[in-house]
């Protein structure tokens, strides 16, 4: 059994899955558009929540929210299911595929054999689409990869029931019903407004622009607080969250800039093109940060001075993002 599912490779798993599912159901959609409507862009630095003993740093909203919000804003009816029993979860998946539904699944990367070994950490927020089953293997459209991949039933079962932070609990999701008409401009505006709110008006100083400033203030203290090894591990972790985890580069800022270009067409507003350029420049700034940080990790730059420079770069990112999202909010509410 194999569903004829057009696979497209993208940068990020959840927005890629969302775009591919929408596309399959007759709504042509880019990854950037899915990411933007789903309000995916964010920043948070939460030093007291640790992942693999390192502080939680994220450049996007929580797992599952891009798909949920993008479909909701487009008026699409979806179904989501979680399971406590792996056998039931597997039977349900098999039935859905047999009925011809491509099914989104949340999985733990550690157990997926088709991943490059160097990427196999305990990260449980990875999304993919199951598009068929042949013998003892599932056929999977994973947007991170160039082509559809195969995965033994046993491994997918482990991945769907991965444990620890963000445990997926066998989560499945699929599109149940598409509406007759879409209000795309409305959906795009709603997605932009959410991101502006998240970046500018968070009640806690850990998120949005204030979160970036918090990271800048804390990072500069790391060399005094930890030994060198720990300091560099903390720094390397920020680079990985920014560049590694399917961000399309610059902590999702380039995907978002691509979305703003498309949004300019949808909303027929050329001001968004200028804001897209600004967003690209901010992505470059983040890349400057990663470049310098990696030189520090490699021992090619002096620690004390570099941490000061890194902190300054982050403050610059924060300042520019405050301007960008302020402008964006004004353009959208006009």
């Amino acid at each position: 059994m194999k569903i004829n599912f057009p696979h497209r490779q993208f940068a990020h798993c959840e927005s890629g899955v969302t775009a591919n599912l929408l596309n399959y159901h007759g709504f042509p959609c880019s990854e950037a558009m899915a990411f933007g409507i789903g309000g995916g862009l964010f920043f948070a630095y939460v030093p007291f929540i640790k992942l693999n003993f390192l502080p939680l740093t994220t450049f996007r909203t929580g797992p599952g929210s891009i798909f949920a919000k993008a479909t909701k804003r487009l008026g699409i009816e979806i179904k989501r299911e979680k399971f406590s029993n792996p056998d039931v979860a597997e039977q349900r998946l098999d039935r859905l595929i047999a009925e011809g539904h491509p099914v989104g699944a949340q999985t733990g990367v550690f157990w997926l054999p088709f991943f490059p070994p160097a990427y196999r950490f305990h990260f449980n927020g990875h999304n993919l689409v199951v598009i068929g089953k042949e013998g003892n293997e599932y056929l999977i459209s994973d947007p991170i990869f160039e082509e559809p991949v195969r995965c033994p039933v046993e491994d997918l079962r482990k991945a769907r029931f991965a444990k620890g932070a963000l445990a997926p609990k066998g989560k499945l999701y699929y599109i149940a019903n598409m509406p007759q008409r879409f209000d795309l401009p409305q959906a795009v505006s709603a997605g932009i407004k959410e991101v502006c709110r998240g970046m500018l008006k968070t009640p806690v100083p850990l998120a949005g622009v204030r979160g970036i400033r918090l990271l800048a203030r804390q990072l500069v203290k790391w060399p005094g607080k930890f030994d060198e090894k720990q300091t560099l591990l903390y720094l390397g972790h920020v680079i990985r969250m920014q560049e590694e985890i399917g961000t399309g580069g610059g902590g999702f800022r380039f995907i978002y800039a691509a979305f703003l270009q498309e949004a300019a067409d949808v909303l027929e507003n050329d001001k968004l093109l200028d804001l897209s350029k600004h967003c690209t420049e901010i992505g470059d700034l983040w890349r400057d940060f990663a470049l310098l940080a990696s030189r520090v990790c490699k021992g090619r730059a002096e620690i004390q001075d570099s941490f000061h420079d890194l902190s300054q770069l982050l403050l610059q990112c924060a300042a520019e993002e405050k301007i960008l999202f302020g402008d964006l909010q004004r353009v959208i509410s006009d």
Partner: protein, 178 residues
């Protein structure tokens, strides 16, 4: 770590990055993410290409494949080096009689006692007891079965640890100096 065969492309790319840093204003990327600037450097990706976002000549965003970016590779390698360090440490502790072989398999699978307990279904305080050599050595095979199943090894393999940590990644960075 032994120095790998010199790979010219890595050297050239590195020279290029260093050069752009010495004559540019310190450490700036400043390229507005153009298509031709998407890094094509060594990545620990087992040959997979990943997608980056970049701007074409008309200023429109396109998707561009990338083989890797040295910056990311350094950060990723660092995470694996940290795991290798932990493996050395835990082997020393096992050698010194402070920890049981289970500790090695746990670290190798990037787990701590809490995560191992969740995966194996063995309660956390039992897992912690099983990490002690005196208790571990007396355990019957059926008590070790949940761990063996989880790590896809047999009970005998679970009772043994290698002399030196197994190499976790087959790929290594060209010209790696350490």
């Amino acid at each position: 770590m032994q120095i790998q065969d010199e790979q010219i492309f890595a050297r050239v790319l590195w020279d290029f990055t260093s050069a752009s840093q010495s004559n540019g204003t310190d450490n700036q990327v400043k390229n507005n993410m153009k298509k031709e600037d998407v890094p094509q450097e060594f990545g620990l990706t087992a040959g997979c290409q990943e997608v980056n976002y970049a701007v074409d000549a008309e200023g429109r965003y396109t998707l561009e494949q990338s083989s890797g970016w040295e910056v990311k590779t350094i950060a990723l390698q660092q995470a694996w080096d940290a795991i290798a360090d932990q493996l050395y440490q835990v082997l020393a502790e096992i050698e010194a009689g402070k920890k049981s072989p289970l500790a090695y398999h746990m670290v190798k699978n990037q787990m701590d006692a809490a995560l191992l307990s969740q995966y194996s279904g063995v309660s956390r305080w039992r897992v912690k007891r099983h990490l002690k050599p005196a208790i571990f050595n007396k355990l019957a095979a059926d008590k070790l079965a949940p761990y063996a199943e989880l790590f896809s090894v047999n009970v005998e393999q679970l009772r043994m640890v290698p002399k030196h940590p197994e190499q976790m990644l087959e790929e290594t960075i060209p010209n790696r100096d350490k």
